[in-house]
Amino acid sequence: MSWAWDNRGFLGRMCGEHLYLALVPLLIGFLLAVPLGLFLARARWGRPAVLGFCVVLEAIPVLSWFVFLPAIIDTTVPEKINVLVGLTLLVFAMMTQSISAAVAAVPDELRATAEGLGFTTLRRAFQVDLPVAMPVVIGGLRTAAVSCISLATLAALIGVGGLGKVITEGYSTGSEPEVLSAIAAVVVLAVAAENLLVRAQRYFLPWSTLAPVR
């Protein structure tokens, strides 16, 4: 533990970089998935095809994206953008499935009521479908957040910073406490992110039945 204390500045900076690598994709992937998920939930066509595509997209390991994206978007390997785009694709695939499933499960009666009250389709999507589906969506978001924070360590394999870099540095210099501190920091960040989402749900959706914090 003394290693972590002695290098707290470095560790803190790396935590910040790690959060940047993990949370920016989480946000962008989520925002991209919201419209598509809302559309797919009630779409008459394209649902099986797009969801099947998302299943395949989710199965592609992010490390493959990290090293193959340079060939597609014309970057070099050790660049942050590869990590950001790769993780965004993963979050997008996960959240599209979870949002469309959650919205498809919104009771027909609620939607009919909203329509009877004169809601336009767009307004109903954002004021009825999405809020009612939100507890399930947040459940998916928690999984995605933890995956992102854990997988962002792989950025070190293409030489990009974050806590993964602390792990590889500790491994190559044979410094065990450095590796352990980095693992502990990743776990702390993941638990904190998950906890924050649970608290956000409790604050913004006080009516939802609360899942116990684990």
Binding site: A59, L63, F68, L157
Partner: protein, 246 residues
């Protein structure tokens, strides 16, 4: 793109010692071996815990650790603790692959509708019958999903293990970035083959798994329900069948 294409289509790179062919073989052997062993250990354990309700701590502990611990850190740490090589890496692969399977086995059986289990018991089934004839078939979609998640995770973790002295396609990614080699084609080839392997294994298990799921589980109850319950009100649809003059 060209660098990648030239590298992967060059037969010499496939046949060479420690070339693509050898690495691909290693990767397939490591991942499928680890997946089989992890499934054989974790599936019965998870299902047993879910069935009996005793010892839930085990799958929950595995689930939490498997989700939170970064694979790179785990492999690096254990490579430092033991001698490097694929032995310890293989053991870690099995352990990390067990997490999703055990959670799926536990949750799949535990979260089944209790009334179903109760009525099976009430109709005189013994616990073993309930397990074999009710719980396992009904939990099958979850079990398959767990194995698929483990398969994808193991294929990508095998690549990560290469960093800490493991074998397989991950070596192409790690070695290709060494300053002495610096071959982007090699790196990209590793990445693409890992992705193909993960997606392929996922599709195969999904296809095979579908044949194990009892067809009755796929029948949607909603279609049947709609025939019994007439729609109460559709105020928004000027329906043909509504009362005339409405």
């Amino acid at each position: 793109m060209n660098l990648f294409w030239n590298y992967i289509t060059d037969l010499d790179h496939w046949k060479a010692s420690e070339g693509i062919g050898q690495r691909l073989g290693e990767h397939v052997a490591l991942s499928i071996g680890a997946l089989l062993i992890a499934t054989l250990i974790a599936l019965p354990l998870g299902v047993a815990v879910g069935h009996s309700g005793k010892g839930d701590d085990l799958p929950i502990l595995f689930g939490v650790l498997g989700r939170l611990l970064p694979p790179l850190g785990v492999f690096a740490y254990f490579a430092m603790k033991t001698e490097t090589g694929s032995g310890p890496a293989f053991a870690m692969l099995i352990l990390m692959g067990m997490a999703p399977i055990m959670s799926a086995g536990y949750a799949g059986v535990r979260l089944l509708d209790r009334p179903v289990i109760e009525s099976a018991r009430a109709s005189g089934m013994v616990p073993m019958q309930i397990l074999r004839e009710i719980e396992l078939p009904m939990a099958m979609p979850q079990l398959i999903a767990g194995v698929r998640r483990a398969a994808v995770a193991i294929v990508s973790m095998t690549a990560v293990a290469a960093y800490a002295g493991g074998k397989g396609l991950g070596r192409l990614i790690v070695d290709g970035q060494q300053p002495a080699v610096h071959d982007y084609g090699m790196v990209a080839t590793g990445g693409v083959l890992i992705a193909l392997l993960a997606v392929g294994l996922d599709r195969i298990i999904d296809g095979f798994g579908r044949s194990l799921v009892p067809p009755g589980l796929y029948a949607t109850p909603s279609a049947a329900l709609k025939e019994i319950q007439p729609r109460v009100a559709e105020p928004y649809a000027p329906s043909m069948s509504a009362t005339p003059g409405y």
